[in-house]
Amino acid sequence: MRSNRLGWLLLSPSLIVLFIVGFLPFLYVIWVGFHDWNIFAATRGMTWAGANNYRRLVFDQDFLAALWRTLVFTFTVVTSELVLGFVLAQTLTRQFPGRAFFRTIYVLPLVVAPIAVGATWRLMVIPGFGPIPYFLERWFGIQYRIGTYAEHAWATAVLMDIWHWTPFVTLTLLAGLSAIPREPLEQAMVDGANRWQVFRYITIPMMMPVILTVVFIRIMDALRVVDEVYMLTNGGPGTATTLIGLHIFRVVFPKTDYGYGSAMSLLVLYVTIVMCWLLFVALANVGKQKA
């Protein structure tokens, strides 16, 4: 009983801060989501709208298209980053010349602000100025135009995100790999398991908590990408790279439709929570069945 009271006492400062900066704004967004609130509207202030914002949302083709685009983007980047990150983390556990140097320069994208990442990539892919379209055209005859072709803009946005966030995945997985005890791996080798079997039946299950954490963090991040894509393509050409974060930004800030923007944000939060929870349950169940 004493330890419980002490536990709550020690937790209380963090809980109070979290309540003020995390939970109260969340409740406020829920409250705003049930109102019409546009500062340039004829009626100033908030007016109760009930579930009308959500009713409007489920019929909004632009919103639903942006949401679907974001889900595809998230799946593509998270899967690619996980595979690449795992391969690189495995590579970095071995000794090779220049390993420390590679590790250092490899994590540099992580310290760059997303808006600067978007600006840098934009400079690299602007036709007539950037080196990427120049060399692609000169060497392979490919007309690389992110302002004209939707697939070029999409591929650039995906590559940019992978370039920016794979180091984070690698570092986290590398920490996980370093913490795995050597004994089970050596025992398996002694018992005649090959490299693939050791990786599949020992390394992956032991890494599952780390993999889950990384996947959750990356899913949450990828679902709310705004600044990188805003800087790179501004959502274009057309709406080819208008991800949900950018769509919400345009509704909330230029159009100042706060009520509808809040409703959209809450739906994205709902999708994020459901996706992470389903993934957690599925992977936890797979782990239990194997145990």
């Binding site: 330890s3 419980n4 002490l6 536990g7 709550w8 937790l11 579930a51 959500y54 009713r55 949302l57 489920v58 019929f59 739906l267 709902y270 929570i273 459901v274 929870w277 349950v281 936890a284 169940n285």
Partner: protein
């Protein structure tokens, strides 16, 4: 010598197995009910409400389902 006890988490999670395919505690079951309620309401507004059935019917059904999940899930 004072006896030292290991510090425990202030909240105790007691899971149980009901008709849901996973082990859940009360919070999990309330969470699942709310998730189903929100999803069902959105789908209802999109597909059923245009046919003339109010979303309140969905809310009542979801409350009944939620109580069932919390008690038996």
């Amino acid at each position: 010598m004072t006896e030292t006890k290991p510090i425990q988490a202030p909240v105790e999670h007691k899971g149980r197995r009901g008709f849901l395919p996973i082990e859940t505690n009360t919070f999990d079951r309330v969470f699942i009910s709310v998730v189903i309620w929100i999803g069902a309401s959105l789908l209802w507004m999109r597909f059923i409400e245009p046919l003339g059935l109010s979303v309140w019917i969905c809310t009542i059904l979801c409350i009944i389902l939620g109580v069932w999940i919390v008690k038996k899930g």
